[in-house]
């Protein structure tokens, strides 16, 4: 389970880190990316079931 405000990951852009923060609580079903994978804007990172 994840709660609103939880940090579920960090996105690194040019050596600065931005937290990925949960906006709706729920059950984290699956991550679509592996640790240290490159991601693009708009790309789904995980599925959270409300």
């Amino acid at each position: 389970m994840v709660m609103v405000g939880d940090t579920i990951g960090l996105i690194e852009v040019m050596k600065s880190f931005t937290p990925v923060i949960v906006e709706e609580a729920g059950k984290l079903i699956v991550f679509h990316v592996e640790n240290e994978d490159a991601v693009m804007p708009g790309q789904p990172i995980c599925d959270i079931e409300a």
């Binding site: 690194e12 852009v13 040019m14 050596k15 600065s16 490159a38």
Partner: protein
């Protein structure tokens, strides 16, 4: 005795890799550029005689992978290694590996890197050379109880610094004993995790000081200085704008500062290009040694402009075993130079890094202007590395004229497609406090937090 070098491996990327290629080519040497999978089309890869893949995009698996870098250099037939700045440039183990593999490391001896890279040992050397450092502990502080008694002697506020840290990382400020008791164990744990070495030392925190640094060149025996730089304009402990010389110094202060740097570098038998960093207190005129960077620095061009010495070329020559031909009395200060670091950061979004495609580029020129950069039109700046795009440097007869010339050049620089920090530099060039030179290391952050805004990010 000179050693024959024909091919240099460049274990770095970005603008400094381009800088190395230029110097190598002028010396008649060929270059092999290390590239990560994300960097195969960077400018340095286009300019070098050849490229060698050292790993995937992530720096820990490519530019920081010692084995992969040494292997690639050997396979491509290189006989020397230039580490640039950052990455493996101050890694003594890497320098040792390079030498064991039969190549020349373009930098100091591994033991010098180790000695000066350990901030506590560097302070001890400074003390022995009669170079003042910030009041602090003689070496590593063993435990909290020792830290408490030492801090009481030094005087609060104190900085807790990681012996293996650098670049502003691993520093905490304790205002009193209670804070020290909280922060000391934290700092130790973090230093161990970040640097593999939990050793800490203490220094008095000097709130309002300038950052001044002396550029030196040594051949292992004799050392000369190329005067000093003023680098007080910083944000998050990263330099933003650098000048040479430090306009705030009186001639006698300049002489004492530069002589102290030469003394310390000669004491450790320094070989190559290096920089000794100091804090300078305007009010008392005191300077304190903080640390030495045993590599080429980002801001070396301002020293090149005011002395006419090609630092990159000299460091390669020295690595090839040549003795310094420069004599101190031949090195003269001529005019004033300023460097503006142009970064891919969005001023409208609190300096958020902003990689992406550069759709158009127009580079400034004219008398007294230099632009060392990694850019070309059509290049896509990757998100994996730091945000520095290039360094715009102006040189003129006086400081005032150099600021005006820098602003003129900034006005000509057009980088289309990605946000950059150009507008910040134009605002700094126009700022009355900057024009007066009345800045200290925290001035820029304080000014950015104050109103009216320093710059209009809609312009």
């Amino acid at each position: 005795m000179t050693k024959s070098v024909s091919k240099i491996f460049i274990a770095n990327r970005g603008e400094i890799a381009v800088r190395v290629i230029r110097a190598a080519r002028e010396l008649g040497l060929s270059t092999v550029q290390a590239v990560s999978a994300a960097d195969t089309n960077m400018l340095a890869a286009r300019l070098a005689d050849a490229t060698a893949l050292v790993g995937p995009a992530h720096a820990t698996k490519s530019y920081l992978n010692k084995d992969a870098v040494v292997q690639a250099a050997l396979e491509s037939g290189c006989d020397a290694m230039h580490p640039g700045y950052g990455f493996l440039s101050e890694n003594a183990d890497f320098a040792e590996m390079v030498e064991k593999a039969g190549m020349i490391f373009i930098g100091p001896r591994p033991e010098t890197i180790r000695q000066m890279g350990d901030k506590a040992r560097a302070r001890q050397e400074a003390f022995a050379a009669g170079v003042p450092s910030v009041p602090g502990t003689e070496g590593i502080v063993a435990d909290l109880e020792t830290a408490k008694s030492e801090a009481a002697r030094i005087g609060y506020p104190v900085m807790i610094k990681a012996a293996a840290g650098g670049g502003g990382r691993g520093i905490r400020i304790a205002r009193d004993e209670a804070e020290l008791a909280t922060l000391f164990p934290q700092a130790s744990g973090e230093a161990l995790a970040a640097f593999g070495n939990g050793g800490l030392y203490l220094e008095r925190f000097i709130g309002r000081a300038r950052h001044i640094e002396v550029q030196i060149l040594g051949d292992g025996e004799r050392v000369v200085h190329l005067f000093e730089r003023e680098c007080s304009l910083q944000r998050r402990r990263q330099k933003v704008w650098e000048e040479a010389p430090a306009f705030c110094l009186k001639p006698a202060q300049r002489e004492a500062l530069c002589a102290s740097a030469v003394r310390l570098a000669e004491r450790v038998g320094y070989r190559g290009a290096g920089t000794l960093e100091y804090l300078f207190d305007d009010e008392t005129g005191e300077f304190f040694f903080i640390e030495m960077n045993t590599r080429i620095q980002v801001e070396h061009p301002v020293s090149e402009m005011v002395t006419g010495v090609d630092i990159m070329r000299e460091m390669i020559r020295i690595a090839m075993g040549e003795k310094l031909v420069l004599r101190q009395e031949d090195i003269m200060l001529k005019g004033h130079a300023i460097e503006a670091r142009i970064c891919a950061e969005d001023l409208a979004a609190d300096f958020r890094p902003s990689p992406g495609a550069v759709t158009g580029l127009s580079v400034p020129g004219g008398f007294g202007v230099r632009f060392d950069s990694l850019l070309y039109a059509g290049y896509t700046v990757p998100p994996f590395y730091d945000s520095l795009l290039g360094k715009l440097v102006s040189h003129d007869v006086t400081r005032e004229a150099a600021i005006t010339r820098l602003d003129r050049a900034l006005g000509e620089l057009m980088i289309d497609g990605i946000p950059t920090t150009v507008a910040l530099h134009r605002a700094l060039a126009a700022d009355p406090t900057v024009r007066r030179g009345a800045v200290h290391t925290r001035w820029l952050e304080e000014r950015l937090a104050a109103s009216p805004p320093l710059f209009d990010h809609l312009s």
